[in-house]
Symmetry: C2
Subunit: 271 residues, 2 copies
């Protein structure tokens, strides 16, 4: 687990953009979190009962590329001070998904009614952070240009299993010119806690993708003649694994509605 300390939050100091974004999410005023609080890390959420949390933690430990943990709570504690002093995991995402036995049973804007003393929250790094670094280097991000969701694919790359958690790695795809793909490997290698370097490029069929035009999640994007598809491990992997495990109880974020933290993306760079 990456241990990072966020700047402190104090009522007397100017409000951080991330805190303002989180307060807006808490108040139910966010339709999506993409674009909120630029420069700040957003994360995927997975909440599990303590009796499953150890297995899930081990799953993440063994599969750090799709499941990089950037913060987690104590058992039963809805706070994660390392990601924001005021942060309350029960209220600070715009929308949640509540799962029972592998079925989504509720999609509430807070989980006060679902919180239990045995729950553990995991916050997992997301590609927004490395996309910001790619764009800062003026690399084009096709799905952002086209205004659609990133295309994602189930692969034939098996995650290392842990307890009930097992399944294939899900990857996101961004088409790039070869020289930009090389640059993207360099840039994203600096960000191991938000999926890091690509896991694959070119040759979609080598990782079990039969039709690049038909993603399993998200939307298809154009791949130009002078571009190759570049694949990164994706934070949808743990969500798919939790759903496939049909565990008695779990809570996740609703797609596109992430947790905004007080960590800055640049803090995640290892170099």
């Amino acid at each position: 687990m990456t241990v990072l300390t966020a700047p402190g939050f104090s009522g007397a100091a100017p409000t951080l953009p991330s805190v303002a974004a989180r307060l807006a999410c808490r108040a139910g005023n966010a339709e999506q979190t993409a674009g909120l609080a630029p420069g700040y890390v957003q994360g995927n959420l997975a909440i599990l009962p303590e009796n499953l949390a150890a297995s899930f933690h081990r799953f993440c430990q063994q599969n750090p590329k799709p499941c990089p943990i950037i913060g987690m709570s104590e058992v039963g504690d809805p706070k994660i001070p390392s990601l924001g002093l005021d942060l309350d995991i029960r209220t600070d995402l715009p929308r949640y998904r509540v799962w029972r036995d592998g079925e989504m049973v509720d999609e509430p804007t807070d989980i006060m009614a679902h919180w239990r003393e045995d729950l553990v929250a995991f916050v997992i790094g997301c590609s927004f952070s490395f996309e910001e670094a790619l764009m800062a280097d003026e690399l084009p991000i096709r799905h952002i240009e086209q205004g659609v969701r990133v295309p994602m694919y189930r692969t034939n790359i098996a995650c290392a299993p842990a307890g009930p958690f097992a399944g294939p790695m899900v990857v996101s795809m961004r088409p790039l010119k070869p020289k930009d793909a090389i640059r993207a490997v360099q840039i994203t290698s600096r960000f191991p806690s938000v999926h890091g370097a690509p896991v694959h490029l070119g040759l979609p069929q080598s990782i079990g993708i039969k039709d690049i035009a038909k993603p399993d999640y998200g939307d298809p994007v154009q791949i130009k003649d002078d571009e190759i598809p570049v694949f990164w491990a994706c934070g949808v992997t743990p969500q798919a694994v939790i759903a496939a495990a049909r565990v008695p109880f779990a809570i996740t974020h609703s797609p596109g509605l992430m947790l905004v933290t007080d960590l800055k993306n640049k803090q995640l760079a290892v170099l």
Copy 2:
């Protein structure tokens, strides 16, 4: 120019493997330098009269990926102490090529008879160094497996010209599985003074390569169905540029017969 200091050479100390290799070359006992003194940097050689050396130096400065200078001499001085205290550039390569007006006129085992007070020697990093790092990471190098020369191609990537020196970048190609190609980008990015990260991967036609099975220099190698071609800037570029410039006088190394230096490959790693 990368400034590095080689370990000192003293008659009293145990002889470095690089010094032993250089003495063997000096005595004319080396048929090739590949495999000599493992761990030590080998370099391409280009020697030009002072009135052309400034332009050539500027060419290298502007094209650091194909022409990374790892050492150069003072005008008229055959020593390059930073690469080896005892090193004599006139005798320490197994074989040289002497060029007049763009034609090779001699291929001697030393250049004592050709040395002049106005000559400047440039030693340029070579791919042996990064191939050693790739193999240390257990990545396969196809031309080494097949026992042939690395395939090299003229591209449509124009070098930045300087004085009479101009022309396309020449690249070397190594086929790799996509995940190994990503790893190779990371590894070779650590070695900017020996060509650094690849300049291209996949899509040979994008850089003007019409038939990957017909290299312009070296030998063809097998590319398996699950591999992509990965292209690095190549030290043949400055040699091709010197030949194309048809300069009145130049000396280079003979292909495959490089200068063995006292620098260690691991010293060249920036991380």
